[in-house]
């Protein structure tokens, strides 16, 4: 019985919203709530937190009441761990390389790494794409749009 409920997607969706709502409600009481006439900074978040908690419980409740659907798995059929990791890693490396080495290396590494997330990607193909985007990006953002972001730098 309980195991069937655990399989439902909305079980988790409702749970997540309830959790966020409860956390917001609790946290907003640490700010000055004030009175109804003179509301403090905590009042609006408090109301929203309570509303979100109620909605979360409602989603949760609807999930309990409806029968198990045909497709309730949360993760898609094909788990793209490599793709997901590469898409997240690209921008992270952009931050790191951008902060220490400048725009051109950051662009190259961002495009290169995220391109590797595709199943059919090759190192050579990704490198060529990254190089092309780097040249284009530097031309557009540094020369045409004059973005204050050094093309190369060393250290902070």
């Amino acid at each position: 019985m309980f195991e069937t409920q655990l399989k439902k997607r909305d079980f988790y969706a409702g749970g997540l919203m309830t959790l966020i709502g409860a956390a917001v409600t609790l946290d907003s009481t640490t700010y000055d709530v004030g009175t109804m006439t003179h509301m403090g900074p905590g009042m609006f978040p408090l109301i929203l937190g309570i509303v979100l908690t109620i909605i979360g419980v409602l989603i949760f409740g609807t999930a309990l009441a409806t029968p198990l659907g045909p497709d309730e798995s949360i993760l898609p059929e094909q788990r793209e761990w490599r793709g997901w990791a590469c898409i997240l890693a690209g921008p992270m490396l952009f931050i790191l390389f951008g902060e220490f080495l400048g725009m051109a290396p950051a662009t190259f590494v961002c495009v290169f790494v995220s391109a590797l997330g595709d199943r059919t990607a090759t190192v050579r193909g990704s490198a060529i794409l990254a190089l092309g985007i780097t040249v284009f990006g530097v031309l557009l953002f540094s020369y045409i749009l004059q973005l204050p972001f050094p093309i190369f730098r060393w250290g902070m």
Binding site: T37, T62, L88
Partner: protein, 520 residues
């Protein structure tokens, strides 16, 4: 009344036809069309990615460019859906139903031609509606006090979240999340930092660009990576000549276009019923009126003309509450409003009188933009079609770079890039849990003004929360709240009474709409 509207419009053309403004509009349409045509890039992603590029431009130019981007990306999306059966924007899901069969019969060019005409007809009507309705709405809205504004915003938020795709309950949950994200930062009145986790970079709040690019950029890429199969290039050889519909096709399209336009403009008047619903209704209308309803789905030109006209006329109508009341109907409008706020312009009923150049310039530029769209697409269709064949594996890494540099450029701050990654990850989690994150943007943009007016209304009423439904002193506010209740009851009624029809509609959406699910 009519004469003032016309003189104002004349003034608007003066603004929009200034050479640099025409240039921004042209660049917007061109780039929007170019990006929008790429498979997997919907208008939301396109506008979010191009938004940072407009920060350096003066407000009028920036808004004209964004409107151009919006038009371009929408039309680009139509090309993508008709020729590849790949709708990147929900309203186009309907266009695919008959557009793609036409392509298979070798009439894809004609379908595109009819789309150009339909969107122009639909948009023109929508613009006319805006010219006359917006000033009327403004004169009414200027009399609104905080209580009325608050109730109206509540109605807008509720309509925007429950009438969008998917479960209304989840939509409301997303809107509340958006309102909460809007709270992050210093409190307007006391300066108390709220939900900043002690991080100074968050004292100014979450950046709209980071939010939009996280939700519609990174989260979408995570969803689509390795999911888009190689593009079928069989049908993508279209040239200028092919765009001409036959006489018979045109004769059948005209009435459908006008019916679609009518449906769209009616939908625009009901808050929250955006272009998606308008296109569905228009398609259903065409099917009902037609002498051969069973032929729909096999390549009926009416099934392309009607929905496209209705989409564009309702999109134009959506600009009315956005520009005159400051209340966006969907995530795209929320982004455009957010862009205005970044430029330091306060949206709301005072916009027309305080910034007539923006308001009337924008209206005039709608027409100019539409003409540019036609001029660009008719001779250059071959080029756009070539863009369709760019595989997704080259697209998303390049787009990720634009996401990173775009977010960075808003404040020259790498912290924002990190914020975007985190929002993207959370956005993908929400997508997996079957939430549609678009209402988040709606809540986020309206949040701060909603809170401000709420607090003010309560202060004026001396803490009496019944002020919003006080029929004697605040009849307008009470009316809006009444509409909210009606909306909720109607939703409940539909859910309880018609689960079967609903399930069918959902199945149809899921079938025709593999990528566009994240957008409303």
């Amino acid at each position: 009344m009519v004469t003032t509207a016309l003189t104002d419009l004349w003034y608007g053309f003066g603004v929009a036809l200034e050479p640099h403004n025409v240039m921004w509009c042209f660049i917007g349409v061109l780039v929007g069309n170019m990006v929008g045509v790429l498979p997997g890039m919907g208008p939301l992603a396109t506008i979010s990615i191009l938004l940072p590029l407009t920060f350096g431009i003066p407000p009028v130019g920036a808004i004209l460019m964004l409107a151009g981007v919006f038009y371009g990306s929408q039309y680009g999306g139509a090309i993508c859906s008709i020729l590849l059966n790949l709708p990147c924007h929900p309203p186009h899901a309907v266009t695919c139903l008959d557009g793609f069969p036409l392509t298979q019969q070798g009439r894809g060019g004609a379908a595109l031609g009819v789309t150009v005409i339909s969107s122009f007809v639909g948009a023109s009507w929508g613009i006319t509606e805006m010219i006359f309705l917006a000033p009327v709405l403004v004169t009414v809205a200027l009399k609104f006090g905080p209580a009325e504004i608050c109730s109206l915003m509540l109605l807008g938020l509720l309509a925007g979240s429950t009438l969008a795709r998917g479960s209304p309950l989840k939509g409301v949950a997303m809107t509340v999340c958006g309102l909460l994200i809007g709270i992050v930062g210093s409190d307007i009145e006391t300066g108390t930092p709220r939900f900043t986790f002690g991080i100074p970079n968050l004292f100014d709040g979450v950046e709209i660009v980071a939010l939009a690019l996280g939700l519609f950029g990174i989260a979408e890429f995570m969803k689509s990576v390795n999911q888009l199969s190689a593009v079928e290039t069989k049908y993508t050889k279209i040239s200028f000549k092919d765009l001409r519909p036959t006489k018979n096709e045109l004769r059948r399209s005209w009435p459908a276009m006008f019916r679609g336009t009518l449906v769209g403009s009616l939908c625009a008047l009901i808050p929250g019923t955006g272009p998606t619903i308008a296109s569905f209704i228009a398609y259903a209308t065409e099917k009902k009126i037609s002498k051969s309803p069973d032929q729909f789905g096999t390549g009926m030109i009416e099934g392309v003309a009607g929905p496209e006209a209705s989409t564009h006329s309702s999109v134009q109508g959506d600009f009315i509450p956005t520009m005159s009341l400051g209340i966006p109907g969907d995530a795209v409008m929320a982004l455009i409003l957010g862009a205005l706020m970044i430029q330091g312009i306060v949206p709301g009923p005072q916009l027309i009188s305080e910034h007539p150049d923006i308001f009337w310039g924008l209206i005039a530029s709608f027409w100019i933009g539409n003409i540019i769209l036609v001029v660009l697409n008719v001779p250059m269709i071959g080029l756009w079609v070539k863009l369709l064949t760019i595989p997704y594996k080259y697209l998303y890494p390049s787009a990720l770079f634009f996401v990173c540099i775009g977010v960075y450029s808003t404040n020259n701050d790498m912290f924002q890039v990190g914020e975007t990654i985190l929002i993207g990850l959370l956005g993908y989690l929400l997508l997996l849990l079957d939430f549609h994150p678009a209402p988040i943007l709606l809540g986020f943009v309206l949040g701060p003004r909603f809170e401000e007016n709420f607090r003010r209304a309560m202060l004026i009423s001396r803490g009496d929360s019944l002020v919003f439904i006080d029929i004697k002193n605040h009849p307008i506010s009470a009316f809006f709240i009444f509409l909210c209740v009606v909306l909720i009851l109607a939703q409940l009624y539909v859910r309880l009474r018609k689960p079967k029809a609903l399930a069918q509609e959902l199945a149809m959406n899921a079938e025709t709409n593999p990528i566009a699910q994240a957008e409303p």
